[in-house]
Symmetry: C2
Subunit: 455 residues, 2 copies
């Protein structure tokens, strides 16, 4: 737990020594939560009390705004200290979010070698593996012994973000890898090439970063090596970065499924106006789409005037259709995200959803007939205009049956088609599907009604 | 890539030597994909050609059905080999999914020590941290030196699932931890207690397993130590298991948000009947809920008969209301899952969503007035029964404004209330919210219409 009151109290009493002892015992992530709550003046005070490596670690967890405020408040030598203690992938993450003037100041205060590496990573597109990789990893030559490798690790290890997995290279070409536990538990005089794993999963810099996450998850990796187009090792993606990618992809998918553009910051950190902006365009688009359903509905104005009872079933038909379609769209979208389903399975998916829809639609239609007869019996069905209640029930239930089958067909095909043409399948989830299904529901329903009831 | 044709071809030619060479070069996860595609006879053949430790690793990735089939096909000594090479947390995962007769056979073929540990873990509830932890970890006494610790690691390391993070204990009480890179890069004669990190994040066995995932993500951990109620170290949760928990929680949330119970297996592995079962109950419940909206609609039968134009706006009002509510419900549900929002923030959330809804609703209502006037101009609005088009536009737009504000209020409060009373907030997402908002939309709309238009 972060005790903000305690820190504020100590700061007020100018007891900086106690603050220093207190904050230097905290985790970087918790220090960030604390400093994000303080005003700029106190933030800088607390930040300056941190040990250099802890300051660098914590800095990577701050809000963007706080990072900018701190960079503006500290001098160049302090800035150099922070960025020289920071891992390269964190540095790149920060630079990507900064205004140009701040970026220039950061780059001017990093070593030429690090600046070169930063620029290399910055050139990769934001969605690519290259943009999330770190270039700090451990590599061995294949002909050294375990004892030599351990000695090398112990000498160089501190500057590497992860040494849990070490890589074996020759002229920068990736030959294999060796887990640190295998290394440690092998005999001193064993050659690296005799214990290295040569069947190594790697990923090109240009691949989608989501794919790196999938590989790390599939093979339970701590780090995934990244290679260029000539199969040379250029970096690694670590599991903690993979989890961050996973979480933001999920937030993106869930937002799109609910007809919103994803927000980048947390809920409370995002201003009201940004929230409104992320939601309003989809609502306007869907409002106009729903108008189409309304216009179709007006075409059946005569049927409605003659038999208003028909209107009573519209919310049920549109709701059930929309929900059926959303179910299929959601399960397929999630399947695509998990790599279980892809466009080449489209006919298998359609056939499977068809069988599911047959079971679901017959069951629901049967229950619906019973519901209508029961409502008629207790007198809350409304005026059925002299028609037989059985005909009314048959009309509504047949419409329901067809709407569910069509909804599940549309729901399962649209995300696959979207994925095929390079769109986010999550865009095709609930709201769009519901809108399309609504229109279908009205057309099917009133066509059956007018034909069978002779209106 | 997995070359199934090649393996099948080699098997047909009885070239087991080539199969053996081929499969022993593959990754466990890929071997599982291969064997899952083979029939039982060939599965057993290929499985028997695997090296013991690889066989154990691959086994943990198989489908449940395949695991049962293989256990039934192999003899007791082979079974012993598989489970003695398998990590404890994987063993427990498998046992939890097996029928009782198979469990008995597995337990009869494991060492008494391992059987005791399995039984300990099996007693933890499925949603608890205890159920996903592994009890294989490295621990040191605080007064040994770095050289002694490294020697201990090198001697004992192979039997531990992860030695990336080592723990320091005294009478099983957790004193601190030390990352293997810190250990390796410290001088030989340094005492462990001088370099261990004493500010250690740990989690109780009884805590929700989602919380372990959150901690691992927040602090970028490779493993999280698990303690009992007396703060004694009993196990660790590794990052790969945390990712699996994360993925299945996300699938669960997304499924519930689309009115389905989550499926446990992949999309194609799940039979049609199970898919139908997971979806049908929600559809029936929502169908009956929508019937309520229908009954309310029938109350306004007279208004509908007199002015059928009113019906044309129902899909737009219900759709926009449902979408607005879903947006709020989804963003709050995701916020709860990420630990950003909780019940204590309910008034902050309501106030924030209110301000968002003001912006969104005024913008949409304005656009809606323009839409109605434009549709009237080009003659597709339908019969407005002698009323002024401005009054019609005002009625519909005022209804829209109120529906959006109410939808966002309901959408943001229900998930928080659900979470407060211990229900899954995802249950309160889109479909239920849409159904409630639909009913509200009809009531608001027809009350305004009948009052202003004097029907």
């Amino acid at each position: 737990m972060i005790n903000i009151e305690k820190v504020l109290d100590l700061l007020e009493k100018n007891n900086y020594y106690a603050v220093k002892l207190f904050v230097n015992e905290m985790y970087p992530a918790d220090i960030a939560l604390l400093i994000d709550e303080l005003d700029t003046k106190n933030s800088v005070v607390v930040f300056r009390l941190l040990q250099k490596d802890l300051a660098a670690d914590a800095f990577a967890y701050f809000d963007n705004d706080k990072q900018i405020a701190l960079i503006e408040a500290i001098n160049d030598s302090e800035l150099y200290d922070v960025f020289s203690h920071m891992f390269l992938d964190d540095t790149v993450d920060i630079i990507e979010e900064m205004p140009a003037s701040v970026v220039r100041r950061i780059l001017n205060n990093t070593s030429p070698d690090k600046r070169k590496k930063i620029n290399e990573i910055l050139r990769y597109p934001e969605s690519s593996v290259g943009s999330i990789m770190t270039v700090e990893y451990v590599s061995f030559k294949k002909d050294i012994t375990v004892a030599e490798a351990i000695a090398k690790l112990r000498k160089e290890g501190t500057s590497k973000e992860t040494l849990y997995t070490c890589y074996v290279t020759e002229n920068r070409k990736l030959l294999g890898y060796i887990d640190v536990n295998v290394l440690l538990t092998s005999a001193d005089d064993t050659k690296i090439e005799d214990i290295m794993e040569t069947n190594v999963v790697s990923i090109p810099t240009t691949e989608d970063k989501e794919e790196a996450t999938r590989q790390i998850n599939k093979y339970d990796l701590i780090a995934l090596p990244v290679v260029d187009h000539e199969d040379r090792l250029v970096g690694i993606v670590t599991v903690d970065d993979a989890i961050d990618v996973l979480q933001s992809e999920v937030t993106e998918d869930i937002s799109r499924m609910a007809a919103m553009e994803p927000i980048e910051d947390s809920y409370f950190k995002t201003p009201v106006f940004v929230h409104a902006k992320k939601r309003i365009l989809w609502l306007i688009f869907l409002m106009f789409s729903a108008t189409v359903t309304g216009v179709i509905l007006q075409h059946f104005e005569d049927a409605i005037s003659v038999l208003p009872v028909l209107v009573g079933s519209i919310p049920m038909l549109m709701g059930t259709g929309g929900n059926s379609g959303s179910q299929s769209a959601t399960i397929i979208t999630r399947g695509i995200a998990l790599g279980e389903v892809s466009f080449k399975d489209i006919f298998k998916v359609i056939f499977k959803e068809f069988r599911v829809s047959i079971i679901v639609s017959f069951a629901l239609s049967l229950i619906n007939i019973i519901r209508i007869l029961a409502m008629y019996k207790i007198g809350i069905l409304g005026d059925i205009g002299g028609h037989s209640v059985f005909i009314i029930a048959a009309v509504i239930s047949l419409a329901l049956l067809l709407v569910i089958i069509i909804a599940k067909f549309i729901g399962c095909t649209l995300p696959l088609l979207a994925d095929k043409v390079g769109l986010d399948p999550a865009l095709m989830a609930s709201p769009i599907i519901s809108t399309i299904v609504d229109a279908c529901a009205v057309v099917i329903y009133f066509n059956i009604a007018t034909a069978w009831l002779g209106i």
